[in-house]
Symmetry: C2
Subunit: 297 residues, 2 copies
């Protein structure tokens, strides 16, 4: 009988959906964050090897594209909902790779990708959120930020580019900004791509070894790498202070590219499924339109 | 001996590359255009059935992505070249399908897609090229216009939305504008998706038959369809007056979706290959950077 009970228990566990990734990976936002306690090679849920991961991600792609189509369709009938994916992480952590391999599965007509580089003179002449506001997704769209307003509390902090007092205010400004996005229909998904120090070394070396990738490398990458502990601290602070109910942070183990792609696809799926977008009903007489079409010469 | 000569001739023909699509499909721009002389189901070159067409398009996708990567990389070293694909055609002609199925093969990070709808109040308060200038691709990017400034000599002409005299000036203004794009590094590829009157009826009916597609239908589509001859005339005039060396028009037979996708992929390939973008050489000491990386703790 014990065996039967154990079998039933096992079956029950198997039939239960795994805990949502958004719960597993979310930064609670209720206390200090210690990134060293997050394993960059962890596989907390989902496929456990590369082949299974690639297959699972490919299966997700179709569902994601279907949800995107519904989200976009809903906006043509006045729906205001949209999604903003914010990608942050150290150099080589896979921000560009995520855009290529995950966002590449969506219909480009509904995507608005923006990479934030060193601010231009014009951008510097405005408050730090100015350039970000100009790149937000419209209703029905999926916006993707490769780097974001978080650079304004990361590199600016590490390299002391703004007075510490101004910096201190920015976390609150960011939270208010993101709350306003949520209030006006934007689902904000913030992803920290967490890679290890040795994995970064390997990826930078790989870029140096391939002349076709030299353009992706800059000597500044080495200078930034030398500041790794300061960056980690700046990230920990940003994750702690800006993981809110309106816009939580997710820490994604990013040493394995296939796993990173599966995780972000799944996070997007969970958020889009929660939105449950629906095709709008026809606002016209369908039968009448069909008759007219058939009767036209 | 005649047989041998014939065989050699046949081999020679087979080994010769087919005439470039850009030559085959280009509107010469040296006289009136009669769209009824262009078959919307024609297969002037390339794969002759759907299976072969899908396979050929998939093979092109990888080459296109590689060229896009080089184009983008070149821009990071000061390259100014970029490409703008302009898609025009009657309702259901496949503008959206082209974005999804052809542009979907590119890296979304380097694509800037813009669909032009009925002008907003702000857009109407500016000259007609204003909203177009704001959506142009940056260096290294591929821009895609789903409809464009050509609406300002198409629907505006058919529905008499602007005085005829203003309209007459616009062709020249467009040519000057496109010349300036070419002069500053933009390869302009203008595609007219040519579908037949009966094919449009079938596609509109298919939208009505599928509730998930009702959002793509508007009663205005029937009103526009009733003006088919006027639209054809307006298109003929735009193709005639605005097919220039700087920015030629291509007429793409669009009744078969798989063929349309192959043609546009091939047109993009021919233009990108002509640009021959190259990865920039490293502007830093590669060996020195490798040493530093290896010597870091």
């Amino acid at each position: 009988m014990a065996t039967k009970a154990a079998k039933q228990e096992k079956k029950k566990r198997r039939d239960q959906p795994p805990p949502a990734l958004r719960e597993l990976l979310r930064i609670p936002g209720d206390g200090p964050v210690d990134l060293s306690s997050y394993d960059t090679r962890a596989i907390p849920s989902g496929p456990e090897d590369k082949a299974a991961g690639l297959a699972a991600t490919a299966r997700l792609a179709e569902r994601l594209a279907g949800l995107q189509d519904r989200l976009y369709a809903a906006s043509t009938a006045g729906g205001t909902r949209r999604l903003l994916l914010v990608l942050q992480g150290m150099d080589t952590s896979g921000k560009g790779g995520t855009v290529k391999h995950v966002i590449g599965h969506f219909n480009p007509a509904g995507c608005r990708v923006r990479a934030f580089k060193t601010p231009t003179a014009e951008e510097r002449s405005h408050p730090f959120l100015w350039r970000v506001r100009r790149a937000l997704p419209e209703p029905g769209e999926i916006g993707i930020f490769d780097r974001s307003h978080y650079e304004d509390v990361l590199i600016t902090r590490v390299r002391e580019l703004v007075p510490r007092r101004d910096l201190g205010r920015r976390y609150g400004q960011i939270n208010l900004f993101e709350q306003s996005l949520a209030d006006t229909g934007t689902t904000v998904v913030k992803v920290f791509l967490h890679i290890g120090y040795e994995e970064q070394r390997a990826r930078l070396l790989a870029r140096l070894d391939n002349p076709d990738k030299h353009w992706k490398f800059s000597p500044a990458d080495i200078a930034d790498r030398a500041l790794w502990p300061a960056y980690r601290e700046a990230y920990e602070l940003a994750l702690e202070r800006c993981s809110t109910d309106a816009a939580p942070w997710y820490v994604v183990p990013a040493d394995r590219k296939w796993y990173r792609n599966w995780v972000i696809s799944t996070l997007l799926l969970e958020h889009l499924e929660a939105l449950d977008p629906a095709y709008p009903k026809a606002g016209f007489d369908v039968e009448g339109a069909r008759d007219k079409l058939l009767r036209m010469p």
